[in-house]
């Protein structure tokens, strides 16, 4: 289990003083159709990129809030872990990127009829964003509007 107490002392001290952004009021959209008819998209903050995409930049102050589009037909095994955080073990995601971007699993669920379909694209970001202002005013609205425009019914969001 992930516990704040397991993180390094410097990170714990940082988190102790950190002011988390509270979502209030909590927005809410009901799922418009049964899951087995719904179009699903993935959003991952595991810092994964396709081989032809630039890596996320760990040197951006406050966090790199850029995003990458990942095509639904991508081979998950080719995704590259460009998240440079040392606060977690990268071995799992490096050996199987589905741990951070479970596209193969949702493909299986779509093929089994558990979910309706998958969107033609998904989104990848890098989650070490300590200053989320730019995420809130720039990247999140673009990602959200893109998926809304695609007619996506529901998104599964996966942190690292």
């Amino acid at each position: 289990m992930a516990e704040i107490s397991e993180l390094s002392l410097s990170l714990r001290l940082f988190l102790k003083a950190y002011r988390w952004r509270r979502i209030d009021p909590v927005p809410h959209t009901p799922l418009r159709k049964p899951l087995h008819e719904a179009k699903i998209a993935l959003v991952s903050t595991a810092g994964l990129v396709a081989p032809d995409q630039p890596p996320f930049d760990e040197h951006v102050k406050g966090g790199d809030t850029s995003y990458r589009e990942l095509s639904n037909d991508i081979d998950v095994r080719t995704l590259i872990d460009t998240h440079r955080s040392t606060s977690y073990d990268h071995a799992g995601i490096e050996s199987n990127p589905n741990l951070g971007f479970p596209l193969d699993r949702v493909r299986e669920l779509a093929s089994d009829g558990e979910i309706g379909s998958l969107n033609h694209r998904h989104f990848s970001l890098m989650g070490s964003i300590t200053a989320p202002g730019r995420l809130i005013v720039q990247s999140a609205p673009i990602v959200a509007q893109s998926l809304a425009d695609d007619g996506v019914d529901a998104a599964l969001l996966v942190p690292v």
Binding site: M1, A2, I4, W20, R21, R22, I23, D24, V26, P27, H28, T29, P30, L31, R32, L35, A38, A41, T45, A46, G63, Y88, D89, H90, G92, I93, S95, N96, N98, L99, G100, P102, R105, V106, E108, L109, E114, L125, G127, S128, I129, T130, P132, L135, I136, S139, A140, V143, A144, L147, A148, V152, D153, A154, A155, L156, L157, V158, P159, V160
Partner: protein, 82 residues
């Protein structure tokens, strides 16, 4: 930080008409940030889906999360249990 980032993106999706569910690795952060619908998973950072080569467990986590999409009593925070 990842937990906060996915929560903030989820909120923006919900505002624009897309239902969401987030996996959450830190219960404390989920409680503070309040993503609309969240499944707390008892796994280490880097292992939100459970284990690298356990496809069955990964599918179970995803289905447990997706089932929360039917919930409208936001904020929803449930625990994953096998």
């Amino acid at each position: 930080m990842c937990n906060q980032a996915v929560s903030l993106i989820a909120a923006e999706l919900e505002r624009r008409g897309v239902a969401t569910v987030c996996l959450m690795l830190l219960r404390e952060v989920a409680q503070k940030v309040q993503p609309p619908r969240a499944l707390f998973v008892p796994f280490a950072h880097g292992y939100a889906l459970g284990a690298a080569h356990d496809a069955e467990l990964q599918r179970e986590v995803i289905m447990a999360a997706l089932r929360l999409l039917s919930r409208d009593d936001v904020p929803v925070l449930e625990d994953f249990a096998r």
